[in-house]
Assembly symmetry: C2
Homo-oligomer: 499 residues x 2
């Protein structure tokens, strides 16, 4: 047995981080570079390494560190926090009996395959029995962890430490009504927005060049990252000095690549700028899914979809864009990239209706875990909510309840973090505006002060600071949907012109 | 403790292979894709994973398998061979005291840095004390392993199981005289070869396209691999269905990329075609460095530098090549890519003088390990041999003894496998010629029968077959330099036209 010292603990964490670097690189490669015949074995190898990491995080050795080190580090806040996050991971991972967890992983992997089939056949009934079992597992896991009040809270806590339905329910209620009301006003507006005028051929290479120029402006460090192509875009921290971004190119809709790049670039900026002192420890990670998403959405929406951003970039954009774009009038262009139109698919939704898609999922999964909604009734419940909040009713389950992989992957409690990140982003944007003239900075092509502000208040802390502490220290309050509502109201009133 | 069963052993090997897949991917990425700031931590992580693999290969658990399984697998030749190769790795790795091995690894890593400095300052004396210690370690390691006759044999055996100086000495002696004599004849020849006429600008993309077309003809499976750019080309098996090739592009000398690609493609074909039944075990590897090199050199030289190959590819080549190449007469072109010219640097040497560079290194390192040559006398000894075998004397140590990293990396006994592979390639080429009309196949652009022959006799066996058994089963004899000498004599007599 290794001696239980701070040094030994750090070495132990370093070992875990080494395996995680390998794992993350394998995951990146699997989605960007790998030749197709190599995928099967790769999946197996990823499973093997994940298991090793899981074993290391829940080992007797880890338990000894967690039990015996605290008295040794009372004056060291970093070590204290390190022990805290490791304890949390330990509790989460070790409280589930191994056999049960393995059965869950196997079921989940099978369910993902069935989900594909169910989509192809537009047949929810294929997936239903799997969902029932996955919900059952999630309920039990939450019980093992010891949830507060409701089992769903235990699931939420995995992704957003400390968040509960008591906080979320009134917030989402308020947001939902505000957004629905905005959607109605926009539907009633006589302003014409022609998004179709942007659907011209735009070669991949030129899109890539423009995407790179925007990443560069954001302050993304290309000596500590790279941009590659994939099917489902993501950003991934392989180590703090190697945080990679991926995007997807649609040669008939340039918006996919550019907004995807900015979004993932926002995630990447976060990971590139965590305090280097936390390297090779679990503090060198984003503090929660919600805060991570606040960074991607800050850049994608509050910067990337703003009028001033496109005013300042339009000349550059046109220098990469083909002939067909050269005659589009700027005001028309700006309106077109901000068209609001209720649609079935979440990942294709506009900036305004997007949160409604999330709220629908939140309400449904909460009821599923609580047991007040049965899986068999889910498709109908889904369609009812779509009709009620967005005014459209899916014509098939593939366009409805079967569109996302999350539930089939056994993930419940994850969806709300998307909307949470959006509200956080609005709060951060408001706080930043007190100190920085954001439009002026964007106008003058100087993004550095925004990046520096985010580093100072968010990025550098990594997991050293809890998500709600970040928000409170910056804004002086907790989660508050008003800032997002205000931002969306002002922006879309200007575009769609109601009083 | 896990039960000592064949199943448990296979699972154990699978685990090792999983870590090796991660390690190989990280090594590939480090040399092709990684952003520069990510390199430092990556090196650390690679060290961590290498240590894990070393630990698994020399563990008590491995020892139990090796000690207890043999009686259970007497009727299973595959399992017997698996145990044999694992025993070999176990013996090699476990006989060196851990502290001593760690000290060696640290020294080696330091020596590689010093080697860079020594080159930059053209000052061998900087490296000398490190080389002395590295030689010392190698002598001791060989003693731990229990060498046959001479310590150098123990080192050779690491790279080419069973090979000794008794075999190599007369073979290299014969080869050396034959090659020196050919070099003299060529020097005396009045035939003019103008290699300079090939040094035109040839854009990277076009070189890449031509390289891909050649890899494709060789039967390289792009669904199980890919071609990327790097500084020092290599091929690497990440798994059997993911064997990647890299090359380097010199836009003013297309030969670098095309011959590099064919060479690495030959290595890759080997790994892509090992029997899939050996997947996730150490049998799914090349059987020795010499046999591996025979595959790369078979394709690079016996195919890729042949007249018939360029006759059949010339139209394609010209379709990718810029204007300046269009007027080169084919015979001149063929002679130019086969120019023989004694030069200082091994990796830039032509097909004929290359083996002389290897023999010089072999003779010197054998004496160093034997203790009959002192490190301080090495530069002089190097230059003397260059003058004697190649007729040129290096004007600096950077152009002489400091050019290769191998010795600074602590590798002794590795160099001869390059020449060994070349002789094996000639022997395989001769054996193949008995069954296949090679020139006719190349002429008709049908490379499949050559590939199939190599798969049948070499590739599919992986480490199931010892290197010398491969050669004996195919050629009916052991290592024999005559085939290489005959090939080179005929080829260069035709080009340089002596009687």
């Amino acid at each position: 047995m290794t001696a239980v010292t701070v040094e030994a603990f750090k070495d132990y964490l370093k070992k875990i981080k080494s395996y995680e670097e390998a794992l993350h690189l394998m995951a990146w490669d699997l989605r960007t570079m790998i030749p197709k015949k190599g995928m099967d074995q790769r999946s197996e190898v990823i499973g093997q390494l994940s298991e090793t990491i899981h074993t290391l995080k829940t080992s007797t050795e880890m338990k000894h560190f967690l039990d015996e080190l605290p008295p040794q580090v009372e004056d060291d806040p970093v070590m204290k926090q390190l022990l805290k996050v490791c304890q949390k991971d330990y509790d989460r991972d070790s409280k589930i009996p191994t056999a049960e967890y393995t059965a869950f992983v196997t079921l989940r992997s099978k369910a993902e395959t069935v989900w594909q089939e169910a989509r192809e056949n537009d047949d929810f009934s294929l997936l239903a029995p799997y969902l029932e079992k996955l919900i059952d597992y999630n309920q039990r896991f939450s019980t093992y962890w010891g949830y507060h009040d409701k089992p769903y809270n235990g699931l939420l806590d995995q992704y957003e430490p400390g968040l509960t339905t008591d906080v979320l329910d009134p917030v989402f209620e308020k947001l939902k009504h505000a957004l629905s009301s905005l959607v109605s006003k926009i539907s009633a507006s006589s302003v014409e927005v022609d998004a179709g005028q942007l659907l011209h051929y735009f070669p991949k290479d030129a899109q890539r060049a423009f995407s790179l120029s925007v990443l560069d402006k954001m302050g993304y460090d290309f000596d500590a990252g790279r941009l590659d192509e994939t099917i489902h875009p993501f950003a991934i921290g392989i180590n703090q000095n190697d945080v990679r971004v991926t995007t997807r190119y649609d040669e008939y809709d340039f918006k996919t690549a550019i907004f995807g790049t900015i979004h993932e670039g926002g995630h990447a900026l976060y990971e590139q700028n965590i305090d280097p002192a936390f390297a090779m420890t679990p503090l060198a990670e984003g503090t929660s899914m919600g805060i991570h998403e606040s960074q991607s959405l800050f850049w994608e929406n509050f910067v990337g979809r703003s009028q001033v951003f496109w005013e300042s970039q339009y000349k550059t954009f046109l220098s990469y864009a083909p002939e067909a774009f050269q005659t589009i009038e700027f005001t028309e262009f700006y309106k077109a990239i901000n068209e609001v139109k209720p649609s079935f698919i979440r990942i294709e939704a506009d900036e305004l209706t997007y949160a409604l898609h999330i709220i629908i999922r939140y309400e449904l999964e909460k009821d599923l875990i609580q047991g007040t909604l049965q899986v068999k009734d889910l498709p109908e419940a889904w369609n009812d909510k779509m009709e009620s909040y967005l005014g459209i009713r899916p014509t098939s389950d593939t366009l409805g309840v079967l569109q996302d992989i999350h539930w089939a992957a056994g993930d419940f409690g994850y969806f709300p973090t998307y909307a949470l990140g959006y509200m956080y982003a609005a709060q951060l944007h408001d706080a930043m505006s007190q100190e920085i003239n954001i439009p002026m900075m964007i106008q003058s092509n100087d993004f550095e002060p925004m990046k520096a502000w985010l580093i100072e208040h968010v990025h550098r802390h990594g997991r050293m600071k809890e998500p709600l502490d970040i928000i409170k220290d910056v804004t002086g309050e907790g989660l508050n949907p008003s800032y997002l509502i205000q931002y969306l109201t002002e922006k879309y009133r200007a575009i769609y012109g109601w009083d």
